[in-house]
Protein backbone atom coordinates (compact mmCIF):
# COMPACT_ATOMS: atom_id res chain seq x y z
CA UNK A 1 0.00 0.00 0.00
CA UNK A 2 2.34 2.66 -1.16
CA UNK A 3 -0.15 4.77 -2.99
CA UNK A 4 -0.10 7.70 -0.60
CA UNK A 5 3.64 8.12 -0.32
CA UNK A 6 4.11 9.96 -3.61
CA UNK A 7 2.21 12.90 -2.23
CA UNK A 8 4.92 13.55 0.34
CA UNK A 9 7.79 13.80 -2.10
CA UNK A 10 6.88 17.40 -2.85
CA UNK A 11 9.25 18.91 -5.37
CA UNK A 12 11.83 16.31 -4.51
CA UNK A 13 12.48 15.49 -8.14
CA UNK A 14 14.61 18.63 -8.24
CA UNK A 15 12.79 20.06 -11.15
CA UNK A 16 14.14 23.55 -11.87
CA UNK A 17 11.39 25.97 -10.89
CA UNK A 18 12.40 28.24 -13.76
CA UNK A 19 11.00 25.59 -16.13
CA UNK A 20 7.32 26.03 -17.02
CA UNK A 21 5.14 22.89 -16.99
CA UNK A 22 5.86 20.36 -19.72
CA UNK A 23 9.24 21.89 -20.65
CA UNK A 24 12.67 20.22 -20.82
CA UNK A 25 16.01 21.97 -20.54
CA UNK A 26 18.27 21.96 -23.62
CA UNK A 27 21.85 23.09 -24.06
CA UNK A 28 21.78 23.73 -27.80
CA UNK A 29 19.51 26.11 -29.68
CA UNK A 30 17.11 24.13 -31.90
CA UNK A 31 16.02 25.76 -35.15
CA UNK A 32 12.37 25.71 -36.18
CA UNK A 33 11.59 26.95 -39.66
CA UNK A 34 8.37 27.18 -41.60
CA UNK A 35 10.14 28.12 -44.80
CA UNK A 36 13.40 29.12 -46.43
CA UNK A 37 15.75 31.36 -44.44
CA UNK A 38 15.57 34.87 -45.89
CA UNK A 39 18.86 36.56 -46.71
CA UNK A 40 18.47 40.14 -45.50
CA UNK A 41 21.31 42.63 -45.77
CA UNK A 42 21.25 45.19 -42.98
CA UNK A 43 21.60 47.85 -45.70
CA UNK A 44 18.14 46.81 -46.95
CA UNK A 45 16.60 46.09 -43.56
CA UNK A 46 13.75 48.22 -42.28
CA UNK A 47 11.34 47.96 -39.37
CA UNK A 48 7.96 49.67 -39.49
CA UNK A 49 5.13 50.19 -37.02
CA UNK A 50 1.85 51.00 -38.78
CA UNK A 51 -1.12 52.37 -36.88
CA UNK A 52 -4.86 52.65 -37.54
CA UNK A 53 -4.44 56.18 -38.92
CA UNK A 54 -2.13 54.87 -41.64
CA UNK A 55 0.88 56.49 -39.97
CA UNK A 56 4.10 54.56 -40.49
CA UNK A 57 7.02 54.78 -38.11
CA UNK A 58 10.11 53.29 -39.75
CA UNK A 59 13.69 52.68 -38.74
CA UNK A 60 16.53 51.53 -40.94
CA UNK A 61 19.47 49.61 -39.48
CA UNK A 62 21.56 52.67 -38.62
CA UNK A 63 18.59 54.38 -37.01
CA UNK A 64 17.90 51.28 -34.91
CA UNK A 65 21.53 51.13 -33.78
CA UNK A 66 21.36 54.79 -32.73
CA UNK A 67 18.59 54.02 -30.21
CA UNK A 68 19.29 52.95 -26.61
CA UNK A 69 20.49 49.34 -26.72
CA UNK A 70 19.77 46.97 -23.84
CA UNK A 71 21.45 43.78 -22.67
CA UNK A 72 18.84 41.17 -21.88
CA UNK A 73 19.36 37.91 -20.00
CA UNK A 74 16.27 35.76 -20.11
CA UNK A 75 14.85 32.25 -20.24
CA UNK A 76 13.18 31.17 -23.47
CA UNK A 77 10.53 28.50 -23.91
CA UNK A 78 9.59 26.81 -27.18
CA UNK A 79 6.15 25.24 -27.59
CA UNK A 80 7.92 22.08 -28.80
CA UNK A 81 8.84 21.50 -25.13
CA UNK A 82 12.40 22.81 -24.95
CA UNK A 83 13.58 25.67 -22.78
CA UNK A 84 16.91 27.47 -22.52
CA UNK A 85 17.74 29.34 -19.35
CA UNK A 86 19.74 32.52 -18.99
CA UNK A 87 20.17 33.29 -22.68
CA UNK A 88 21.94 36.56 -23.52
CA UNK A 89 20.61 39.03 -26.07
CA UNK A 90 21.10 42.65 -27.13
CA UNK A 91 18.35 44.70 -28.62
CA UNK A 92 16.16 47.76 -28.57
CA UNK A 93 13.12 47.72 -26.29
CA UNK A 94 9.73 48.00 -27.96
CA UNK A 95 9.03 50.69 -25.35
CA UNK A 96 11.61 52.85 -27.11
CA UNK A 97 10.12 52.21 -30.55
CA UNK A 98 6.57 52.93 -29.35
CA UNK A 99 7.50 56.24 -27.68
CA UNK A 100 6.27 58.35 -30.58
CA UNK A 101 3.50 56.01 -31.73
CA UNK A 102 -0.08 57.13 -31.20
CA UNK A 103 -2.56 54.24 -31.23
CA UNK A 104 -5.77 53.22 -29.50
CA UNK A 105 -5.55 49.64 -30.73
CA UNK A 106 -4.58 46.97 -28.19
CA UNK A 107 -3.25 44.25 -30.52
CA UNK A 108 -0.44 43.89 -33.03
CA UNK A 109 0.40 41.58 -35.89
CA UNK A 110 4.12 41.01 -36.29
CA UNK A 111 5.20 40.55 -39.91
CA UNK A 112 8.46 38.99 -41.01
CA UNK A 113 10.58 38.92 -44.14
CA UNK A 114 9.50 35.68 -45.79
CA UNK A 115 5.84 36.16 -44.92
CA UNK A 116 5.58 34.77 -41.37
CA UNK A 117 3.10 36.45 -39.06
CA UNK A 118 2.28 36.18 -35.36
CA UNK A 119 -0.20 38.16 -33.25
CA UNK A 120 0.90 39.73 -29.97
CA UNK A 121 -1.15 41.96 -27.65
CA UNK A 122 0.44 45.40 -27.27
CA UNK A 123 0.57 44.93 -23.49
CA UNK A 124 2.91 41.97 -24.03
CA UNK A 125 5.34 44.16 -25.99
CA UNK A 126 5.62 47.07 -23.51
CA UNK A 127 6.96 47.66 -19.98
CA UNK A 128 10.32 46.03 -20.60
CA UNK A 129 8.90 42.75 -21.86
CA UNK A 130 9.95 42.75 -25.53
CA UNK A 131 12.79 43.80 -27.80
CA UNK A 132 13.97 43.90 -31.39
CA UNK A 133 17.01 41.69 -30.81
CA UNK A 134 20.04 41.61 -33.09
CA UNK A 135 22.69 39.84 -30.98
CA UNK A 136 22.68 36.45 -29.29
CA UNK A 137 25.50 35.30 -26.98
CA UNK A 138 27.56 38.35 -27.94
CA UNK A 139 27.44 37.63 -31.67
CA UNK A 140 25.29 39.07 -34.47
CA UNK A 141 22.12 37.01 -34.69
CA UNK A 142 22.51 34.12 -37.15
CA UNK A 143 20.07 34.16 -40.08
CA UNK A 144 18.82 30.73 -39.03
CA UNK A 145 17.92 32.19 -35.64
CA UNK A 146 16.19 35.19 -37.17
CA UNK A 147 19.03 37.55 -38.04
CA UNK A 148 19.62 40.30 -38.72
CA UNK A 149 16.86 41.03 -36.19
CA UNK A 150 14.02 39.19 -34.54
CA UNK A 151 11.28 40.01 -32.12
CA UNK A 152 12.11 38.83 -28.58
CA UNK A 153 9.07 38.30 -26.35
CA UNK A 154 10.51 35.78 -23.90
CA UNK A 155 7.57 35.56 -21.50
CA UNK A 156 5.50 33.96 -24.28
CA UNK A 157 6.24 30.75 -26.20
CA UNK A 158 9.04 31.41 -28.63
CA UNK A 159 6.97 31.20 -31.83
CA UNK A 160 5.79 34.70 -30.82
CA UNK A 161 9.39 35.95 -31.07
CA UNK A 162 9.13 36.32 -34.84
CA UNK A 163 12.38 35.73 -36.71
CA UNK A 164 13.37 38.19 -39.48
CA UNK A 165 10.86 40.70 -38.16
CA UNK A 166 10.13 43.65 -40.41
CA UNK A 167 7.18 45.33 -38.78
CA UNK A 168 4.15 45.54 -36.54
CA UNK A 169 0.66 46.43 -37.69
CA UNK A 170 -1.71 47.66 -35.01
CA UNK A 171 -4.99 45.73 -34.85
CA UNK A 172 -8.32 46.54 -33.22
CA UNK A 173 -9.00 42.85 -32.52
CA UNK A 174 -6.72 39.95 -31.67
CA UNK A 175 -6.53 38.12 -35.00
CA UNK A 176 -4.52 34.93 -35.42
CA UNK A 177 -1.14 34.82 -37.13
CA UNK A 178 0.47 31.95 -39.02
CA UNK A 179 0.64 29.21 -36.37
CA UNK A 180 -2.32 30.62 -34.44
CA UNK A 181 -4.55 29.94 -37.46
CA UNK A 182 -3.42 26.33 -37.42
CA UNK A 183 -4.05 25.15 -33.90
CA UNK A 184 -1.67 27.18 -31.76
CA UNK A 185 -2.92 29.35 -28.91
CA UNK A 186 -3.80 32.99 -29.51
CA UNK A 187 -1.55 34.20 -26.66
CA UNK A 188 0.86 31.39 -25.71
CA UNK A 189 1.77 31.86 -22.04
CA UNK A 190 4.15 28.99 -21.15
CA UNK A 191 3.30 29.16 -17.43
CA UNK A 192 -0.33 28.48 -18.27
CA UNK A 193 0.68 25.93 -20.93
CA UNK A 194 -1.27 27.84 -23.56
CA UNK A 195 0.00 25.67 -26.42
CA UNK A 196 -3.11 25.07 -28.52
CA UNK A 197 -6.67 26.37 -29.04
Amino acid sequence: MSFITRGFTGRGRERDDRLPPGQTLVGDFPVLSAGPTPDIDTADWEFTIRTESGAQHSWNWDQLMALPIEDVTTDIHCVTHWSKLGTGWRGVALDTLFEGVDTDYAYTMAHSYGGYTTNVPLDDLLDGKAWIAFEFDGEPLDPEHGGPARLLVPHLYFWKSAKWVRGLVMMEDDEPGFWEQNGYHLRGDPWKEERYW
Binding site: V79, W159, Q181
Partner: protein, 85 residues
Protein backbone atom coordinates in the same frame (compact mmCIF):
# COMPACT_ATOMS: atom_id res chain seq x y z
CA UNK B 1 -33.87 18.82 -53.65
CA UNK B 2 -33.53 22.45 -52.60
CA UNK B 3 -32.69 22.15 -48.88
CA UNK B 4 -29.41 21.12 -47.29
CA UNK B 5 -28.41 18.20 -45.12
CA UNK B 6 -25.88 18.23 -42.27
CA UNK B 7 -22.15 17.48 -42.46
CA UNK B 8 -22.61 13.76 -41.86
CA UNK B 9 -23.47 13.55 -45.53
CA UNK B 10 -19.86 14.24 -46.58
CA UNK B 11 -18.35 11.48 -44.44
CA UNK B 12 -18.54 8.94 -47.25
CA UNK B 13 -17.40 11.17 -50.11
CA UNK B 14 -14.49 12.59 -48.07
CA UNK B 15 -13.35 9.17 -46.87
CA UNK B 16 -13.45 8.10 -50.51
CA UNK B 17 -11.54 11.22 -51.63
CA UNK B 18 -8.76 10.93 -49.07
CA UNK B 19 -8.25 7.24 -49.65
CA UNK B 20 -6.15 8.14 -52.70
CA UNK B 21 -2.40 8.63 -52.59
CA UNK B 22 -2.25 12.30 -51.78
CA UNK B 23 1.22 12.71 -53.30
CA UNK B 24 -0.24 11.70 -56.67
CA UNK B 25 -2.85 14.43 -56.41
CA UNK B 26 -2.39 17.79 -58.06
CA UNK B 27 -3.21 21.13 -56.49
CA UNK B 28 -3.59 24.68 -57.78
CA UNK B 29 -1.61 27.32 -55.88
CA UNK B 30 -3.91 30.09 -54.71
CA UNK B 31 -1.10 32.64 -55.05
CA UNK B 32 0.43 31.98 -58.46
CA UNK B 33 -2.02 29.58 -60.08
CA UNK B 34 0.51 26.87 -60.81
CA UNK B 35 -1.07 23.43 -61.00
CA UNK B 36 1.41 20.81 -59.83
CA UNK B 37 1.63 17.43 -58.17
CA UNK B 38 1.75 17.78 -54.38
CA UNK B 39 4.81 15.51 -54.47
CA UNK B 40 6.68 18.39 -56.15
CA UNK B 41 5.94 20.83 -53.33
CA UNK B 42 8.64 22.01 -50.92
CA UNK B 43 8.03 20.66 -47.42
CA UNK B 44 9.49 22.18 -44.25
CA UNK B 45 9.25 19.89 -41.25
CA UNK B 46 9.70 21.20 -37.71
CA UNK B 47 8.53 20.27 -34.25
CA UNK B 48 5.82 22.92 -34.45
CA UNK B 49 4.30 21.65 -37.67
CA UNK B 50 4.80 20.84 -41.33
CA UNK B 51 4.60 23.59 -43.91
CA UNK B 52 4.04 22.77 -47.59
CA UNK B 53 5.11 25.46 -50.06
CA UNK B 54 4.59 25.96 -53.80
CA UNK B 55 7.78 25.06 -55.68
CA UNK B 56 7.09 27.90 -58.13
CA UNK B 57 6.35 30.88 -55.86
CA UNK B 58 7.16 29.74 -52.28
CA UNK B 59 3.62 30.51 -51.12
CA UNK B 60 2.24 28.31 -48.33
CA UNK B 61 -0.04 25.63 -49.80
CA UNK B 62 -0.80 23.67 -46.66
CA UNK B 63 0.03 23.47 -42.97
CA UNK B 64 -0.19 20.35 -40.84
CA UNK B 65 0.01 20.42 -37.06
CA UNK B 66 -0.06 17.12 -35.20
CA UNK B 67 0.27 16.89 -31.43
CA UNK B 68 -0.42 13.17 -31.32
CA UNK B 69 -3.79 13.63 -29.65
CA UNK B 70 -4.93 16.47 -31.88
CA UNK B 71 -4.21 17.40 -35.47
CA UNK B 72 -4.99 20.33 -37.72
CA UNK B 73 -4.75 20.54 -41.49
CA UNK B 74 -4.99 23.77 -43.48
CA UNK B 75 -5.19 23.56 -47.26
CA UNK B 76 -5.99 27.27 -47.56
CA UNK B 77 -3.18 27.88 -50.04
CA UNK B 78 -4.66 25.66 -52.74
CA UNK B 79 -7.81 26.49 -54.64
CA UNK B 80 -8.55 22.84 -55.38
CA UNK B 81 -7.00 19.42 -55.24
CA UNK B 82 -7.49 16.93 -58.04
CA UNK B 83 -7.26 13.19 -57.58
CA UNK B 84 -7.49 10.87 -60.58
CA UNK B 85 -9.10 7.51 -60.27
Amino acid sequence: MTGHVDGNAIAGPLADFFSFDVTMATGRCRACGTVAELARAMVYISGAGTVVRCSTCDHVLAVLVDTGERAWIDFGGVTAIEVRR
